[in-house]
Amino acid sequence: MTGFILRRTLWTVLVMFVITLLVFVIFFKTPGIDPARSLAGRNPSPQVLAEIRHQFGLDRPFPVQYLVMMKKLFVTRDLVSYSNQGQQVFPEIVAAAPATLSLVFGAAVIWVVAAIGMGVAAAVLRGTIFDPLLMIIALIGISMPVFWLGEVANLITQSKLHGTPLFSWVPPLGYTPLTQNPVLWFEGLIIPWITLSVLYIGLYARVLRASLIEIGNEDYVRTARAKGLTEQRVLIRHTLRTSMITFVSLFGLDFGVLVGGGALLAEVVFGIHGVGYLTYQSLSNLDLPVIMATVVYGAFFIVLANTLIDVAYAWLDPQVRIS
């Protein structure tokens, strides 16, 4: 186990190094790009350009430039946005994090519950019309772009049916912090939660159904049936339990990706000012320092989350450790 953790940690460090190197090369070394000009945002003054060149050590050798950037990202954390009058990037990201976390947490609860329900229902109802029906619904769910689904949801709940009692409770778009008004926080997030979870409900229901059916054919499940356990008990104690291993590891990764910035599209459509929204705003005015920071921090979060999941996985399942 120690050996596994050690190997996995080394790999994580290597991945992180390569990610920063890659981001550095993409942002600073793409042929024909003047990094000072890209960092400065639109129409920079010569003074700003000169200041950036000096600050980022752009007149010095490659490794120094890389180290300067790393220092700015991780040690001093004083990267500033030039498009936004020298606004510090790091505090901005920290301030945006709660909105992203609220969105992803809620969606995760919905998608886990709904996907388990749907996957189990499809597997149990195999052979009836409901199984293919549920799977087609799941397939439609994973074929919809989330930003479009969000717009449709907005159209219905904010405009077309907002006047009816069905959706009159939906507050205007935007995010209210939990500490400020918990009721409004909840009401404002319900539609975004559902929208964001649709894709994952479809995906997880498909994975779960397949895995339940596969495991249902294993010998130990047959033994359980043979010794006279009820179908319900076989399902809950034997098949579902084993399927959960895959389900949980998948869940950890998706959760990491969403918190790391994957919720971007949902945040944009619903005007939730989280980390993804910050990236989006920076994209529209090509504010590279912010994009660079959100990309690197997001990627780091995801890689770390993956490492933790792998370690937990290895702890639960000894087979993984050996390979």
Binding site: V15, I19, L22, V23, I26, F27, T30, P31, G32, I33, R37, S38, L139, I140, I142, S143, M144, P145, F147, W148, L149, E151, V152, N154, L155, Q158, S159, L199, G202, L203, V207, A210, S211, I213, N217, T246, S249, L250, L253, D254, G256, V257, L258, G260, G261, G262, A263, L264, L265, V268, T279, L283, S284, L286, L288, M292, V295, A299, I302, N306
Partner: protein
């Protein structure tokens, strides 16, 4: 007597054809009604999109890439301006004309710049499909070649290439795409990539970016298949005959791994179309004045409550296209490999791919375990 001989001959001719695995697969796919319906739907969408210039020129008589703020069109025989005064929730300012449901005159209405949405939808479909299919092709070719090299030579080559793929894999897909796209977009005058000159608004940029980020997703299953084939007897027999490495790779191994690629191909197109639409929606995919389904949805965002069809129509097109490809992909997999060779338990690494793109579909993750009915 002659009749029996003829039947026997027919049988002799028919039998080998039936034993050809490709013919068997094709027949199985042909019998799969749902998959064939999906194929027809996809074919229709492609055909309609290809007909975009025809529609623009001969039916709608509009140029969908030029602003038309002062133009007029005909509704019920009356000439009306395209940008109408006093629209919107507040009944102030200008509002583009809504759907006329008249195939010749602004069928789906106009967007903020007075351009015909229906025509843009068709042209947008062309871009989206070109990018989706193009990047899936490039991605599959690169991934297959790398997988063949890695699996065939093994040892250090395999280790290096596989680690490289793992690294790309570990980088969250959409963050990679955002980084590359933003930097390339800051260049107004395009760039030189080998023999290819990319203009700033070129469709090649999103195509190549999307192709690149998904290479590891195709690489993994293909390499696995190469490894399982590379030590088979027929490969050994070819070696014994003195076949060159190239011949071994391309005429012995490739034909036996290509089914995996074919199964993945429609699913990759679906994934790529979703990725493209998301990038375009974020304004870092297809650049104006070109249109894609993603950019039209983005254009329609401001008009959502007044002219919802601008956003609704391209979204419906995306859903239909991606859904048909996903269904077709499932069908192809069942046809080529009823026991689902491509499947595999979702391990932690593969799951990264599943979660990888965040929003950009995991939809069509190749490795979703699927079990044949027994």
């Amino acid at each position: 007597m002659t009749a029996t001989a003829a039947t026997a001959r027919q049988r002799a001719i028919a039998a080998p054809a039936a034993r050809n695995p490709w013919a068997i697969a094709a027949r199985r796919l042909w019998r799969n009604r749902i998959a064939m319906a999906a194929l027809v739907l996809f074919g229709l969408i492609v055909a309609v999109s290809l007909a975009a210039p025809l529609y623009a020129h001969d039916i709608a008589h509009v140029n969908p890439f030029v602003n038309n703020l002062n133009g007029t069109t005909v509704v019920n025989g009356h000439t009306v301006p395209i940008m109408q005064q006093g629209g919107g929730v507040l009944k102030l300012g200008e509002n583009p004309i809504g759907p006329t449901w008249d195939i010749q005159h602004y069928f789906l209405g106009a967007d903020n710049l007075g351009r015909d949405v229906a025509t843009r939808l068709l042209y947008g479909g062309r871009s989206s499909l070109e990018i989706g299919i193009g990047s899936a092709l490039i991605c599959c070719v690169i991934a297959t070649v790398v997988a063949l090299i890695a699996g065939f030579f093994g040892g250090v080559t395999d280790a290096l290439l596989s680690r490289l793929m793992d690294l790309i894999w570990a980088f969250p897909v959409y963050l990679l795409a955002i980084s590359i796209s933003t930097v390339l977009l800051t260049r107004a005058n395009g760039m030189q990539l080998g023999p290819l000159h990319l203009v700033a608004g070129s469709l090649w940029l999103p195509t190549l970016i999307i192709a690149f980020i998904y290479v590891p997703y195709v690489y993994r299953p293909v390499r696995g298949q190469v490894l399982s084939v590379v030590n088979r007897e027929y490969v050994e027999a070819a070696i014994a005959q003195g076949a060159s490495n190239l011949r071994l790779i391309f005429s012995e191994i490739l034909p036996n791994v290509v089914s995996v690629v074919i199964v993945l191909f429609p699913l990759m197109i679906a994934t790529n179309i979703l990725t493209e639409s998301a990038l375009s929606f974020l304004s870092i995919g297809v650049q104006p004045p070109s249109a894609s389904w993603g950019t039209i949805i983005s254009d329609g965002q401001q008009l959502l409550y007044t002219r919802p069809w601008v956003s609704l129509a391209p979204g419906i097109m995306i859903v239909l296209t991606v859904l048909s490809l996903n269904v077709l992909g499932d069908g192809v997999r069942d046809a080529l490999d009823p026991r689902a060779k491509v499947r595999g338990r979702v391990t932690a690494g593969q799951a990264a791919a599943v979660g990888g793109p965040g929003q950009f579909s995991t939809a069509s993750v190749p490795d979703v375990p699927e079990v044949p009915d027994r």
